[in-house]
Structures are given as C-alpha cells and as structure tokens.
Amino acid sequence: MQSPLIVGAYEHPGRELPGHSVAQIHAEVALGALADAGLSLADVDGYFCAADAPGFGPVSLAEYIGLRPTYFETTEAGGASYVSHVGHAANAIRLGKCRVALITLGGKPRTGGAAPGSSGRDRNAPEFDFEDPFGPTVPALYALAAQRHMAEFGTTSAQLAAVKVAASKHAALNPHAFLPREVSIEEVLSSPMVSDPLHRLDCCVVTDGGGAIVVASLDVARSLSRRHVRILGQGEAVKHGMNGRADLTYTAAVWSGPSAFAEAGVTPADIDYASLYDSFTISVVLALEDLGFCPKGQGGPFAASGALEAPYGALPFNTDGGGLCNNHPANRGGMTKIIEAVRQLRGEAHPDLQVDCELALVHGAGGTLGTRMAASTMVLGRST
C-alpha cells in the first residue's frame, strides 16, 4: 500500500499579530505550506482544521482561503488535533478519498483573545458544575498532576526546570523564538509562582501565529522536488475522570504512544528526535515516561540529566525552543511540534541542533492533565 507523505510545512514567523484577522493567519500559513510543497490551492482536495478555525466548520475557511475540498475533517482535540489530522489525512489518502490534504492552525491569544485558561469553558459540558465553581485555571489543572508526581516519585522543581532550560538553549538559536534567551534553573525557580509547584517559567508562551502541513499521496509526492517525510504510524487516545478514579501520574500517552509505535513497527529506543507537547514542564516529564523513553517516575531525573538537549542528549527534543520558549500559537502546540520534526527529518533544523535523524516522534496533547485530555502520537521517518 502507498504510504502518504508530508510534502509541505510552514510556521508563521509572527508571534504578535495585532493587525491580523484569525482567517488571515490561516490563509498565510496555508499559502506558505503549499509554496513549500510546490503545490497550488487548486491541488488541494482535502482540508483539515480544528476549533481554532473561525466560522462554520471547514466551510468558512475553505471559502476564504480558496479551497474546494471534496474531503474534510474537523477533529477537535485541543493542541493534539493537528497530530491526529496528519494521521487521519494519511488514512484518507490511503483510502483514495483525497490526494492532497491541507491542515491549518491559526490564532491570536496574545493580542486578540481572552486570557489563557479562561476560554473554552462550556456551561453545557456535563462536568461544568463539578469543576467550574472551584476556580480551576489551566496552570492549576497541570499543577495538580505535578504535585501528585512529586509526592509519589520525589520529582523536584529543579528537575521540572531542566525541561525549560533545555528548551531555552534551543530557542536561543531561533531568531523567531518568542523567548530567545537561555535561562538557568535558578531563573525558573525564582520566577513568580503561578500555581504551585508551577512557576511562570514552567509555563509555555502565549503567542499569536499558526502553521500548516500538506500531506499528499506518493504519486503526488514523486512529482515534487522538495524532500518529503514519511508518516509511519499514528495513535490517539482519550483519558478522562474515569468515573472518579483517575490517576494523575499518567496521561493518555500510555495508549496513544504504543499505538503509534506498533503501527510504525519501531520502539522508543529507535527514536532520534522527539517533538514533545510542552504546555508546561510537567507535560514533558509525563510524556517521557508514558511514551517509554524512561521508566515511570524517572522523567524528572531523565530531564535533569541533560537528555533533552540537542544535538548530543539521549533524546533531543523541541529544537525550535518548543511551546515553552518559541511558539504556542492559539494556545495549541501540536502543529509546531509537527513542523519542527519535519525540519529535523529534512535536515533543516538549526545546524547546531541538527540531529542525525532517521526517525522522529511527535506527541500532541489537548485538555489538561488534571481533568481530561486527548493525546495523539506520531512516528515520522526520513525519506530515502
């Protein structure tokens, strides 16, 4: 069976876009990714977007961008959405439902939206009355997972801070990064407490911007000159309150990860580079454990060992600086995770951070670690 490929990727260079409309950001990244691929609007027959897309499902943006899709999907799983979109697009292409699928993300929480953590509280959600009256914020709902992890495994704030430090070293080499400066463990620990044990520098940045990916069939990819990226496997899962029995020391990655690895026929030890969802430092620590890069409870020491630092760490991660330092457009980090993995597999990461990368893992998450979440994990491969 023909394996679909990622043939185009584009990250919006903007991090503060006060004059842009959200639709305009989607269109700019769509055109950017298509230009990267060497394709045109007329080539697109599949369109994928999530709840950051303004207007009516995929329809308003299809009109605004100039698409006439005969296949579309609007899977909404927060920041994990776009990783799922790539997997679902590959499935659709395998089935012959479309040949060129465009996936877009765009938003402007920095200059045009509500405060981070205040959006998306649906009063019709069945859990609303059992959570909203208690004043949950997004950082607080991650802090609950961090506090429990500390109590069970002895994880420390300095170990969490090591995740930020590694990301900041990478961001220092990215001219587009929102926080383009290396920070120290001490700076993380002395930054204001947002929701303990999470400090301000344990949190991702809040940025405007977006990104887009083009997935195409092998026939289409062969006609293009750009180096493409193989989609080897993708898995996704939901973890929720589990009828009041949820254990906050693990995430939905314990299911999405093995599913992606099995489809790809590889193991965590085979991965050369990982784009890990980094809404908060604790998100990375739990993903490292749940995806099998280290034993449960050892994510803190693993991060503190320098393992995440490119190019020589045991598992170089987020070489663009990630959501923690570079970009977290629309409060949704999945798209930028895919884009940096594509750069690594094309050999287009920053030269000082370029890994000899045959296999990359992309892990996205949506929702919160403290209540309910979706995870989507993907294994990508370098084309030969």
Partner: protein
C-alpha cells in the same frame, strides 16, 4: 476566621439536582449503581461502568484525603480578585476523587494524603450549596 471563597452560580439539571440539594441540606450525597455497585462520579442518569439506569442516592461520610492540591496565585472570572486559594482533588473515603477547594488556617500544612472533612458553601443565585473541604484537625 477564614474568608469564604467565591461560589458562582450552578447550571443545575434534573439529573444532578439531588446532589446539589443534598449539599444545601448539609449532606454529601453520592450516586450508587444498583446493578454493579459502582459509585458514580459525577452524577448522571446511567452507570458508565455497566450501562444500568438503576441508580440510587446515599449520603457519604464527608471524610476524605488530599489526592493532590495547588495554591493558585490568581484566579479568573469571578475569581479574578481572589489570591492564593487552594484548588484540590480530594479522594473521598468512599472512593471517588473530586475537584474542590480547601480551607486552611495559617498554621496548617497542606500535604498529599492529609485528612479532610467536607463543608458546604452557599452558591450564588440558586440557593444551593457546593462541597469544599477543611483539614481535619
């Protein structure tokens, strides 16, 4: 004296009303499944474990322990002016882990595993109440 935390209005539906009315009456009521004996959290009209609609209410002990907690520096919405409040997940003695707030005195140390007991705060508009917890002395 501990200052009460904000208590916003509730969107109470018929399926959850017995829970909130219980809080207003000073009772922490939980829902049990008549078929598989699971305790159901949060309340609804079917058992998510076995599909049964044969459910009944029983008053819980109101005792529990801290599963996890965090001190939130600053809230949002009706909590915007509230500083350094405690959000927690309490594991009830009967089993379910529920999101709530903690009340403490200055000399009390909050910790995972600490014993807590339920208190009830009147919610705005509805006249119903919500369950919060204090450290058991």
């Amino acid at each position: 004296m501990i200052a009460p935390l904000p208590a916003a209005g509730l969107v109470v539906s018929a399926e959850t009303r017995p829970f909130w009315e219980g809080c207003a009456a000073g009772e922490l009521r939980l829902q049990w499944c008549g078929q598989c004996s699971s305790i159901i959290w949060y309340p609804r009209t079917h058992c998510p474990e076995c599909m049964s609609r044969d459910l009944y209410w029983r008053v819980a002990s109101g005792a529990g322990q801290i599963y996890s907690w965090t001190r939130v520096a600053r809230g949002l919405g009706v909590w915007l002016e509230t500083r350094d409040y405690l959000l927690a997940i309490v594991e009830l003695a009967e089993g379910p882990r529920i999101l709530t707030n903690l009340y403490t005195h200055d000399d009390q140390e909050v910790a995972v595993g600490a014993a807590v007991a339920v208190v009830f705060d009147t919610a705005l508009e509805s006249g119903l109440a919500i369950p919060r917890f204090r450290l058991a002395s």
